[in-house]
Amino acid sequence: MAQPHDAARLARLSDEALMELVASGDSAALAQLYDRHARVVYGLALRMLGAAEPAEEVVQETFWRIWKRAATFQANSAFLPWMFGIARNLCIDELRRRQVRPIATGNHEDLLAALPDQQQNVEQSTIEIERRRLITNALADLPADQREVIELAYFSGLSQREIADHLQSPLGTIKTRIRLGLQKLKQALLHYGIDVHDH
């Protein structure tokens, strides 16, 4: 049984360190992860599903699976790709259940615009704000066609072939755009000096 932790101590721990506690059955550590990341998971689900109720379900189910599968999380790997992978897969499952996929119309203002975070806890959200600023800048620096295929792949859950069909472009062209776009994104983020291990 995990020992109780005060919130201040938990707040200083990295995501990966919190996961070790979660794996030992520490629900306070999970609550800390929730408080730290639920807003972004909810934002992702809203972006992918376009409705609040299923997005709420995704948030709850994501953190429930983190709780239940904590023992399978590899201590030397990054938490965020694992967590967002769970959330995104749940969103794609929901989209498949509905058999519809809200595909971006080409207006990326909602994705690129930095909305004011009026409800955020300032202490908790510094990294979140910074990450959001950097990723939106990095996406904005991409050529529009590369940004578009990345969004279709990630937020609409389309495969490369589905993107090619949707855009009526050759599959090879789509693969090239994805490869180049993602490489540039990686370089930009490295240049900005952030990675997913930051907390």
């Binding site: 059955g25 629900s27 999970l30 609550a31 408080d35 639920a38 807003r39 972004v40 909810y42 934002g43 992702l44 972006r47 709420e56 948030v59 709850q60 429930w64 709780w67 790997s77 990054a78 965020l80 790709p81 967002f84 992978g85 959330a87 995104r88 909602d110 994705l111 615009a113 909305l115 975070d117 409800q119 955020q120 979140e128 990450r131 959001r132 950097l134 990723i135 939106t136 996406l139 990345i150 792949a153 990630y154 937020f155 859950g157 389309l158 495969s159 490369q160 072939r161 993107i163 693969k175 090239t176 994805i178 490869r179 776009g181 993602l182 490489q183 990686k186 983020l189 952030i194 997913v196």
Partner: protein, 292 residues
């Protein structure tokens, strides 16, 4: 490696990181990852890059109930999977190897958890079984009550049908009497008591040439159950029994006589008191007589 091969591999890794790999490329990716540590490292980096994409979506605070329900769910899960108390250390544990102790602990916890889980399931099944048995008992009682009620209603219905049949018979009888005694051309004959202490009498209504007649009696004393009044027709040569009857509490009775031939062919009528059946011994006494 050719440049194009490198681009192909990069495309596989990029698509895999974004979760947009076509199924037809899956085996190629698996081969690449199996053979190239560099590719595995690159995929890891790309995945970490992709993991920042969710921050591009406008974040929003989920409603408070989402967190509350999650924590409730987790609390319930914790309560359910609470580990069984570990057994007290054995005295000889000191010389057991640590690995054996660890294995033992795992086995104990596993079977403890399994036992708890099974106990929980057995308790739940037992409760369900108890509820089902109670429900079945209730249903049986309800069915039995319904059957009893049904039997009661059936008996009541049979009694009602018998009563209705009797009433119909009585109505038909009354109609016959009324039509008989009030019909034009009917002849009446009087039956008188044979003893001076009797006030009884009879009035016979008959049509000349008809075999049917009606006799109305009054003043006859009610009889014991084993005795009856019998009506007789006589033509001087033989005497014919033409029906039995009882009187009501007021001493009244009506008898419809169906004679073997026209009633006016007989010269005398009488009423006797006799045993109800041949098995019952007793005297035969003439109570009323009349001439036709």
């Amino acid at each position: 490696m050719h440049h194009s091969d490198q681009e192909h591999e990069q495309s596989l890794l990029a698509a895999a990181a974004l979760g947009s790999l076509d199924p037809s490329d899956l085996s190629a990716l698996e081969q690449l990852l199996a053979s190239s540590p560099t590719a595995r490292a690159e995929l890891q980096q790309l995945r970490e890059t992709v993991a920042l994409l969710p921050y591009a979506a406008p974040p929003a605070t989920p409603p408070a109930h989402v967190r509350a329900r999650l924590l409730e769910r987790i609390a319930a899960d914790q309560a359910q999977r609470a580990p069984a108390p570990l057994p007290a250390p054995a005295r000889r544990a000191g010389w057991l190897a640590p690995a054996m102790l660890a294995m033992l602990a795992v086995v104990v916890v596993f079977f403890g958890g399994l036992t708890l889980s099974l106990q929980g399931q057995v308790a739940a099944l037992s409760e369900t079984n108890r509820q089902l048995l109670a429900a079945v008992t209730d249903l049986r009682q309800a069915v039995a009550a319904n059957e009893a009620q049904q039997a009661q209603l059936a008996a009541q219905l049979a009694r009602s049908e018998q009563q209705i049949a009797r009433l119909n018979e009585q109505v038909a009888h009354e109609r016959l009497l009324v039509s008989f005694v009030s019909a034009p051309g009917v002849a009446t004959r009087e039956l008188r008591p044979t003893r001076a202490d009797l006030t009884a009498r009879g009035e016979m209504y008959m049509y000349p040439g008809e075999s049917q007649a009606v006799v109305v009696f009054s003043g006859l004393p009610p009889l014991q159950p084993d005795r009856v009044y019998r009506f007789w027709l006589s033509d001087g040569a033989q005497r014919i029994a033409a029906g039995t009857f009882h009187v009501d509490a007021a001493g009244l009775a009506t008898l419809v006589v169906n004679a073997p031939r026209e009633v006016n062919a007989f010269t005398e009528v009488m009423v006797t008191v006799e045993p109800a059946t041949d098995a019952v011994p007793g005297e035969v006494e003439v109570i009323l007589t009349g001439t036709l």
